[in-house]
């Protein structure tokens, strides 16, 4: 059988959906309220899933005492209580939709040394979520 472990984290941040490749009217049409020039915020949930063999000595795929600080250092400290468009360099050239947030979080976590990163799932609100995993 295969085992994976998933851990959920929370961060709060603001963003504005606006594409330089679209004109003002198109931006308003495509992004609607999310195009408000002052931005708006969400409580994001990040669900991180790792896989790998269970160490018989610990019964664990990876110790949360390693995963939690890694996620904290590589994602949460950078994202929590920030304006994503301005304060995350990758989103200066890219619209911070939750699709792109999800991919960026995966990129930042994929070198976690203790297990293989399988999936990152981001809930922007309680009613929508986005998942990213690299093709095997």
């Amino acid at each position: 059988m295969k085992l994976s472990l998933s851990r959920r984290y929370l961060f709060s941040a603001s963003h504005r959906l606006h594409s330089d490749q679209l004109d003002e009217a198109e931006n308003r049409r495509v992004y609607g309220k999310c195009n408000n020039p002052f931005g708006h915020g969400h409580n994001y949930v990040v669900e991180v899933t790792i896989t790998g063999p269970v160490d018989p000595a610990t019964g664990m795929i990876a110790n949360l005492s390693e995963l939690d600080p890694y996620v904290n250092e590589h994602v949460l400290e950078a994202f929590d209580h920030k304006f994503l468009n301005e304060e995350i360099p990758e989103f200066r050239a890219q619209v911070p939709t939750t699709e792109n947030v999800c991919i960026e979080i995966f990129r930042r976590l994929k070198n976690f040394p203790a297990a293989r990163l399988q999936r990152v799932r981001v809930e922007e609100t309680g009613r929508n979520s986005f998942e990213y995993q690299e093709d095997a």
Partner: protein, 141 residues
């Protein structure tokens, strides 16, 4: 193919301790989970069965039967128990969420007579869960 999922809750205590480690190592690796008196969780178990509906009943597997299997195999064994000492299937292992989920898979898998056990998801807390799924193809090794 259809997947059906049944959820149940059980409450149990455990502690993490490896007798091959020194007391200091146990505390360093397992942290608060190494407290010798144990501590508890409200575990939430989701069991998913995959299969085709029986044309006569419209069901993959009667959820009532699945509920009874889960209560008998998991609830009766683990609910309101100290997992380290009272569950023979966990004896000699560290009852992490990974190990409990794999144990539940092994308990349930032979009992499912219609459809196939597709996934066991075990939440230790709302923010931590383990998924156990079959190796493709042909079930667990």
């Amino acid at each position: 193919m259809i997947r059906i999922t049944r959820k149940m809750e059980f409450s149990a205590s455990h502690l993490y301790h490896n007798p091959d480690f020194s007391p200091e190592e146990n505390r360093r690796i397992f942290g608060k989970c190494n407290n010798p008196h144990g501590h508890g969780h409200n575990y939430v178990l989701e069991v998913t069965i995959a299969g085709e509906p029986d044309p006569a009943t419209g069901m993959v597997l009667d959820l009532k039967e699945l509920k009874e299997i889960m209560e008998r195999e998991v609830g009766d064994r683990m609910d309101h128990r100290f997992l380290n000492h009272e569950v023979p299937e966990l004896a000699g292992q560290i009852p992490t969420t990974e190990v409990i989920a794999a144990t539940i898979w092994k308990l349930l898998e032979p009992k499912i007579r219609r459809g196939k056990l597709d996934r066991v998801r075990l939440y230790e807390t709302p923010d931590l869960f383990v998924d156990c799924t079959a190796d493709e193809p042909g079930g667990p090794q």
